[in-house]
């Protein structure tokens, strides 16, 4: 992993978040949520700052980050795409939808497209089983997605890109 240097501003932000939770080690997960919300991901350097602020070992912080699937150490695409792999979605063909996304984006689960626009992940049941199969792009929920709809969904987010290129 390439070493990155955190901007002073970022370090300050992390410190503030830790302080909000009284620098309590027991609040580690809340802190990680907040920091990831602000920064998008939790690179090693960020975890080191958090560990220091909460007076916890970096190994512990890393152990927690790698335990929970919600936390990520890699920057996500501009539009993170998550395919629900809950049972309802599975029996209604989520796998085919996933395969189609992989094919069209040319990336595997856990990867980000070369242009940084899309990242692909699977998640477990978002509780919208009535709409199975379900796909999330950012926080937007798409229901009853068929493999045929995949290109349309991707296109929705590529418009900006296309116009930017033509401009």
């Amino acid at each position: 992993m390439p070493k990155i240097k955190l901007a002073e501003k970022t370090v300050e932000l992390i410190r503030e978040i830790c302080a909000q939770f009284n620098n309590q080690e027991t609040e580690l997960i809340n802190v990680l949520h907040q920091v990831q919300h602000k920064l998008g991901y939790l690179p090693a350097e960020v975890q080191e700052v958090i560990a220091k602020e909460l007076n916890a070992s970096v190994a512990k912080v890393y152990g927690v980050v790698t335990f929970y699937s919600f936390f990520t150490m890699l920057p996500q695409g501009q539009h993170p795409i998550s395919i629900c792999m809950g049972t309802a979605c599975y029996v209604r063909g989520a796998e085919k939808v996933l395969t189609e996304f992989k094919r069209q984006l040319g990336i595997e689960v856990g990867q980000t497209s070369a242009d940084g626009k899309f990242s692909l992940s699977c998640l477990r049941c978002v509780g919208a089983c009535g709409l199975a199969p379900v796909v999330l792009v950012g926080e937007k929920v798409y229901g009853r997605v068929s493999p045929q709809q995949v290109s349309k969904i991707i296109a929705e987010y590529q418009d900006g890109c296309a116009s930017a290129q033509s401009a």
């Binding site: 997960i29 929970y68 809950g86 309802a88 599975y90 029996v91 049941c125 509780g127 009535g130």
Partner: protein, 597 residues
């Protein structure tokens, strides 16, 4: 302003549509037009009446007459007799199976309504972001009643008498849990609401928190009063942003109205609730893992005892209940233990919310009394199987549960019956599968889930489930042997017997229950290398039917690996050694010429 005097409501549910309800509607329309009544009588389609076994259903408004098993040829009689002469068509009325009496009015037809909404009583009725609507519907009166009229012991007794059992899956008696926590001496205790709904296919907790967050807040306060806790924590999935937002709003309103905080309703009792977020770990539904997660640690379970009621959050006595359990508390207090225990079966009282999903027409959230049969749930409430396919199995209990076959359709649903049938209640996901679902693949799917979600602490769950999954992969790839089937069984038994927590102890259930109920499917994969459902890619082939192929070249042009060859306007051919079984040709072919064998 009324244009129509009368409405004819024709059920447009999928089941009824299959039995020609479209034609019934059309007949009504045409015949009314012929009689020139189409300005007075309007015919409309409705959604499912939830009484599919007696479909198609026709209801006449405004006199609420309810006709069952209506045939397209009956429309004339209904118009002539009922609408014109005002006489009900008796032979089409529903007969009460007990009394054999004909039921004319639908308001006397309530017994066909299989659902009773207790936990969901306010969902879809009140505005969840307006506390006054909750209060207007008896909200917080149970808390008030407890604080003013009942001692903690008396309140616990009501809960115990009601027979309420934990709705998170285990089914532990709620009142007893409260009593145990109450009896432990400590300077601080905690009430925890487990809202880490993780079972794939279950979304009742989300719905309750989104639709009726105050009922959970009220119940937690009651629990706090009973066990002697002044602090509550809701552990909620971070994947539920709307539920979180509604809960936050509700908490703020409850504080504003003095229903949380110090000295609630002038009783001297104080209670506060904080939110803690899950971070994507299914195992955190297990209460010890949940507590560790709330303490900022890896969500690994620890051996019980000590139970959280003795040593839980921060080492203090902690009572953990799930969302649905809490949502049942206020009506129990308000309407009494006797009322609640009158619903359900001998050992499982009250109702259970199920999330119906999968290959079923009326996907949705339902709440039925304990003891309702699977058949009632699937066919009456759920409207039967999608696209007229054959029912194969219903999976209950999520990754900890099992697949139940037609043989269990008439089994009354309660904790003990499901357990005896090789499944479990779980949190209430019910996923319906049809003939197209391969049960070996389903078992593999659940194992994959467990593998992903296992915390890795104990050997049987960490390595055993990996090996189970590997064997299942082998079988679905057509490389399995009879010995592998035996290994699945033996290893499953050891994993159940030796795992540390509930996740591991129940993880082989999907394998065992499919082995028990669908052994022939395993055998087909192993012996004849065939997947009866046509799901397992390695065991199927796409072939082109020479008779049907027109040589349009569409498949040839779409095949991503160039496995298809053939001259234009003559039958094409798929080279099986190149085919990756992506299914594109199958989807593209306009002539049904591509078959799966």
């Amino acid at each position: 302003m009324t244009a129509y005097n009368t409405h004819i409501l024709v059920c447009g549910g999928t089941g009824c549509k299959a039995s020609e309800s479209e034609l019934i509607k059309l007949n009504f329309k045409n015949q009314l037009a012929e009689l020139g009544l189409d300005d007075d009588v309007q015919v409309i389609h409705t959604g499912c009446f939830g009484f599919c076994e007696k479909g198609p259903i026709v209801k006449i408004q405004p006199d609420n007459t309810f006709y069952v098993t209506v045939r397209p040829e009956d429309t004339k009689e209904i118009i002539e007799e009922h609408l014109i002469k005002g006489r009900k068509v008796e032979r089409l009325l529903y007969k009460n199976p007990k009394t054999q009496e004909q039921v004319t009015e639908s308001k006397n037809m309530d017994f066909y309504k299989k659902q009773v909404r207790v936990a969901l009583r306010n969902c879809g009725f009140i505005n969840p972001e307006n506390i006054e609507e909750y209060i207007g519907n008896d909200g917080y009166s149970a808390l008030g009643k407890c604080l003013e009229e009942y001692s903690p012991e008396e309140t616990i007794q009501v809960i115990k008498d009601s027979g309420l059992r934990g709705r998170g899956g285990g089914g532990f008696p709620t009142g007893l849990k409260w009593e145990i926590t109450r009896k432990v001496q400590a300077d601080q205790k905690y009430v925890v609401c487990n809202a880490d709904e993780g079972d794939p296919g279950a979304f009742m907790d989300r719905s309750i928190l989104e639709g009726d967050p105050h009922s959970v807040i009220e119940a937690m306060a009651i629990c706090g009063y009973c066990i002697g806790a002044s602090k509550g924590l809701v552990y909620i999935r971070a994947e539920y942003p709307l539920a979180i937002q509604r809960l936050k709003t509700a908490l703020a309103q409850a504080r504003e109205y003095g229903l949380l905080g110090e000295n609630v309703l002038g009783s001297g009792f104080g209670f506060e609730i904080e939110i803690r977020y899950g971070a994507g770990a299914f195992v955190c539904g297990e209460e010890t893992a949940l507590i560790h997660s709330m303490e900022g640690k890896r969500g690994e379970p620890t051996f019980k005892p000590p139970f959280p009621s003795e040593s839980g959050y921060m080492g203090k006595p902690t009572n953990v209940n799930n969302v649905e359990t809490f949502a049942n508390i206020p009506p129990i207090i308000n309407k009494g233990a006797a009322w609640f225990s009158s619903i359900g079966t001998e050992k499982s009282k009250g109702t259970k919310v199920f999330a119906l999903a999968g290959k079923i027409n009326n996907v949705g959230l339902i709440e039925v009394p304990m003891g309702t049969t699977l058949r009632e749930v699937i066919y009456d409430i759920g409207g039967g199987i999608k696209d007229g396919k054959k029912f194969k199995a219903v999976q209950t209990g999520g990754p900890s549960g099992g697949c139940l076959t037609t043989a269990f359709l008439d089994t009354p649903i309660d904790y003990d019956n499901l357990l005896a049938a090789g499944s479990m209640m779980g949190s209430g996901g019910m996923i319906v599968m049809d003939e197209d679902d391969c049960m070996v693949s389903i078992a593999k799917f659940y194992l994959e889930f467990t593998l992903d979600e296992s915390c890795g602490k104990c050997t049987p769950c960490r390595i055993g489930n990996k090996r189970l999954h590997e064997i299942l992969v082998k079988i679905t790839e057509g490389k399995g042997t009879r010995e592998d089937i035996d290994k699945l069984r033996m290893l499953s038994q050891v994993i159940k017997d030796t795992s540390l927590c509930g996740l591991g102890q129940t993880s082989p259930n999907p394998v065992l229950s499919t082995l028990d109920n669908f052994l022939h499917e395993y055998e087909a994969h192993v012996d004849s290398k065939k997947c009866p459902a046509g799901q397992c890619k390695a065991l199927m082939q796409y072939v082109i039917d020479d008779e049907k192929c027109t040589g349009c070249t569409l498949c040839f042009r779409n095949c991503p690996v160039g496995a298809i060859s053939g001259e234009k306007r003559s039958p094409h051919y798929i080279d099986q050694t190149l085919c990756i079984k992506c299914g594109v040709c199958f989807e593209k072919c306009k002539f049904d010429a591509i078959k799966i064998v």
